[in-house]
């Protein structure tokens, strides 16, 4: 009899399976502060291997955790005595169709790699999360990622034509049912391929940079620009963050437009404003504000929410044009986080605007949302082998 490692080795080869201590340590965590225990790590290279891995896991009653770049902030790929499937080596761009403006990719392709390949066709896959340099398409579909250009382009789900997914019933779906699978955080199956829609690469871009004194002034300015067609992003930095960045005691509003109508047009000035935006993480990290959340707040309550954050001395920044805020916390701020989520719910917001639910935000999901997920889980992963206990709590193997 072969043990599970040997069985998997027969599928993907000895060099593509590991249970070494170092590999287990590497795959025990992601960008959240959560950690767990992997049993094995497997690096498949094609769809057939994934099919056989799923079959073997089903037959031998093992849990599977699909993983992209491991940049998730909610513990969406934390293993729990599970087999981790690292999809990074399924990184081929299979077909670019410039006429139809579509591309077929494997799940391990990163957004940057894809956009570099699309440059010569003057096309772009426009979803740009902060981790776009390493974020994989599979991971972005699984979390329905948004990012800084969400106000113009929306979320990942808006740009998918078709998904190929192998589910826990050992079935392969080539589906346009994007709604069920995009944002499902790997709890139904493994995405093996996706057809993405593309758009024209913006020829020009420029910026506006406003410095404002109060949340009201900030929101008034946001409202002035929010519905303009040429807007690529509307980002803010609150006054606490501004102070920590050694700027001033004011709110900063950075608006990016897809033409040359912005006040900041020169390359040097554009670099300066982009450096300011990219420096937020380092400045907050130095002050040990290393946990960051992503609530979505309806426009009506955004001013109130900013005032509340300021009163609670919580530094924040975010994609305010789309309603996504990024308040940052220190490790010992669990109480503040809880209070914030209660407020988010009270004003009709959602606890996660773009990072997903994973392990860390399960308690804030409504009964209605949980029932809907359970129903889909029963259909696509009846034996509960995929990403157990993410989004909703499940009994081991079987609902």
């Amino acid at each position: 009899m072969f043990n599970i490692k040997e069985k998997m080795e027969r599928i993907v080869g000895k060099t593509n399976v590991s249970d070494s201590r170092l590999d287990k340590l590497s795959y025990s965590t992601d960008a959240s502060s959560k950690s767990g225990h992997p049993l094995l790590i497997i690096w498949p290279t094609d769809r057939e291997e994934i099919k056989n891995i799923i079959k073997t896991a089903l037959n031998n009653k093992y849990d599977l955790v699909p993983r992209g770049a491991g940049t998730g902030l909610c513990g969406g790929c934390i293993p729990d005595e599970s087999i981790v499937i690292d999809l990074s080596r399924m990184n081929h761009i299979l077909k670019i169709n410039p006429k139809k403006r579509t591309v077929i990719v494997e799940p391990g392709v990163t957004v940057n790699e894809l956009n570099n390949a699309l440059k010569k066709y003057n096309l772009i896959f426009p979803i740009k999360p902060a981790s776009h340099k390493i974020a994989t398409i599979g991971g972005m579909i699984a979390t329905n990622a948004a990012g800084m250009h969400a106000i113009k382009y929306g979320k990942t789900k808006n740009w998918i034509e078709e998904i190929e997914i192998i589910t826990g019933e050992d079935k392969t779906y080539n589906t346009m049912n994007i709604k069920s699978f995009c944002g499902s955080e790997g709890i139904f199956g493994i995405i093996t391929q996706a057809t993405l829609e593309l758009t024209d690469l913006p020829k020009e871009h420029s910026y506006f940079h406003f410095k404002l004194n109060t949340p009201k002034e900030l929101i008034d300015k946001v409202n002035e620009y929010r519905y303009n067609k040429n807007i690529l992003s509307i980002e803010y930095i609150d006054r606490i963050t501004s102070r920590l960045m050694k700027q001033d005691n004011r709110y900063h509003l950075i608006i990016e437009v897809s033409d040359d109508t912005g006040d900041i047009r020169e390359e040097e000035e554009i670099t300066k404003i982009e450096t300011l935006r990219e420096g937020i993480g380092a400045s907050l990290g130095k002050e040990k504000f290393i946990i960051f959340e992503d609530p979505w707040i309806p426009p009506k309550y955004q001013e109130y929410f900013l005032e509340w954050l300021d009163k609670m001395r919580i530094p924040s920044f975010g994609h305010i044009g789309y309603g996504i805020f990024h308040p940052r916390f220190r490790k010992n701020h669990a109480e503040k986080i809880k209070k914030m989520f209660i407020l988010v719910k009270k004003v009709g917001g959602t606890v996660s605007g773009e990072h997903g639910i994973g392990l860390s935000k399960k308690e804030y999901l409504s009964e209605k949302e949980k029932t809907k997920i359970r129903k889909l889980k029963k259909r696509y992963d009846p034996k509960n082998i995929f990403n157990r206990n993410k989004i909703i709590d499940m009994q081991p193997r079987g609902i």
Partner: protein, 122 residues
């Protein structure tokens, strides 16, 4: 990495972006994030062989530092010096040190105009 650096690191993984070793293997354990995990956790739990695998698999190019949004310096050179002090070294490194001591160069006994018998990669 000193304590301050450890606290700044969120294990976000951006350090993998341009890491030449990670890019080649596409395996977390070959990339800089494991170095950060190892430095955050208690290094005493790791064997000499494991420490060597973590810190020797690195070109010391600092691409990880350049991409880090929190400006964390993993300071791999310092970690390596510590390891060497404890006698943890690659075979190639050991051989080169012997050659330098014995012949004054890392390639061993070489006559003028003669090609090197062996090239090393540490």
């Amino acid at each position: 990495m000193n304590n301050n650096e450890t606290d700044k690191c969120t294990l976000c993984g951006m350090c993998k972006t341009n890491c030449p070793i990670y890019k080649n293997y596409l395996t977390e354990s070959m990339g800089p994030r494991l170095k950060a995990i190892a430095e955050k956790k208690n290094l005493n739990n790791l064997t000499d062989q494991e420490l060597s695998a973590i810190f020797i698999n690195c070109t010391i190019c600092s691409a990880c530092k350049k991409e880090c949004p929190n400006d964390v310096d993993l300071n791999i050179s310092k970690m390596r010096s510590e390891l060497i002090k404890r006698g943890i070294e690659t075979d190639a490194g050991k051989e080169m040190i012997i050659n330098i001591r014995k012949y004054g160069n890392p390639f061993g006994k070489v006559k003028k105009g003669q090609k090197f018998n062996k090239l090393y990669c540490c």
